[in-house]
Symmetry: C2
Subunit: 155 residues, 2 copies
DNA sequence: TTATTATTGAAAACGATTTCTATTATCGTT
DNA sequence: AACGATAATAGAAATCGTTTTCAATAATAA
């Protein structure tokens, strides 16, 4: 049995990126990162906003979006669209590349990785003389819970 | 050498769906479908709008979006987000499921299908006791033109 | 400290969707 | 075929989630 399933996130992780890029270590960026690190995976900007507001009551929603965009450029987060009309932010500082299973009934998002698929993607690209920079594989359908006892947690 | 690469689209294709669903065969729906069928693959609502305006000068952009949404529900089109901030509509009445290679330099979109990958997706789903309804695989990077002579057609 | 910039929050703009009322396609009746 | 009732649809305007613009503010370096 393991302890510390997830390695503790260095509070310096953001500072490092900020300094490396000659940007400014503002109160807002610190607070947004702290909140982002503390929340569940695949949260929306709105969810982060409501949490940040508790400590930083004068912050604007545009700062949240801008700062999450910054985290993405730093490689600390990735923005994802799972088709519910809200962009979700995936923390990727402690996890390598993965793809997603999305339950359209209850909204559950499951992560997976499959090296076999990734190799075949490269093969497809090679045939088209295409160089892959990044990719996205999303499987939409019903999770075990939702197709077993049909009701589901959401609408 | 073949003639008629693409089978001619039945003008009745839309009418059939409209009648089957007890909806109304309006002038606007006919015109939007005619334009959609005549245009390139993966066009935006705005591009369709500009074309439809030539024949139907009083039409609203919301009707374009609504009607394209209708085509999607009918299985005649699919909406796709390739990350340039515009939803693109893929005609699928004459083509079976496929995935996409997207050049982030020049915007070129190439279609492909790979049964091997599709089977592995099912395998992943089975392991998670997940039932796939639909999926999306998008490979982003540089097309042959763009990584050979670096300039590209777009900005 | 001051000067130099990057960053902030408010407001405007964007692409897309929804709401609302006037219009119109369809159907049952002549 | 023409009518009238009725329910779906159209276009305008409002709204949504997100991005951009811009003047005021604040982090950094001199
Ligand atoms: Mn994830
Ligand atoms: Mn396509
Ligand atoms: Zn579910
Ligand atoms: Zn290209």
């Amino acid at each position: 049995m393991r302890i510390n399933m997830r390695a503790p996130v260095q509070p310096t992780l953001l500072k490092t990126q900020i300094t490396r890029n000659h940007l400014r270590f503002t109160r807002q960026r610190q607070e947004i990162f702290k909140v982002f690190v503390g929340m569940a995976r695949h949260v929306t900007a709105e969810e982060i906003y409501r949490e940040v507001l508790k400590k930083e009551s004068r912050i604007g929603l545009s700062t949240i979006y801008r700062t999450l965009g910054l985290f993405c450029r730093f490689g600390l987060a990735e923005a994802r669209q799972f088709g519910d009309g809200h962009t979700r932010y995936d923390p990727v500082y402690d996890k390598h590349h993965h793809d997603h299973l999305i339950c359209t009934q209850c909204g559950e998002i499951t992560e997976f990785e499959n090296q076999h698929i990734e190799r075949l993607q490269e093969q497809v690209a090679r045939r088209h003389r295409f160089v892959i920079r990044r990719h996205k594989l999303e499987l939409y359908g019903l999770c075990a819970d939702c197709h077993d006892h049909g009701s589901g947690k959401r609408g």
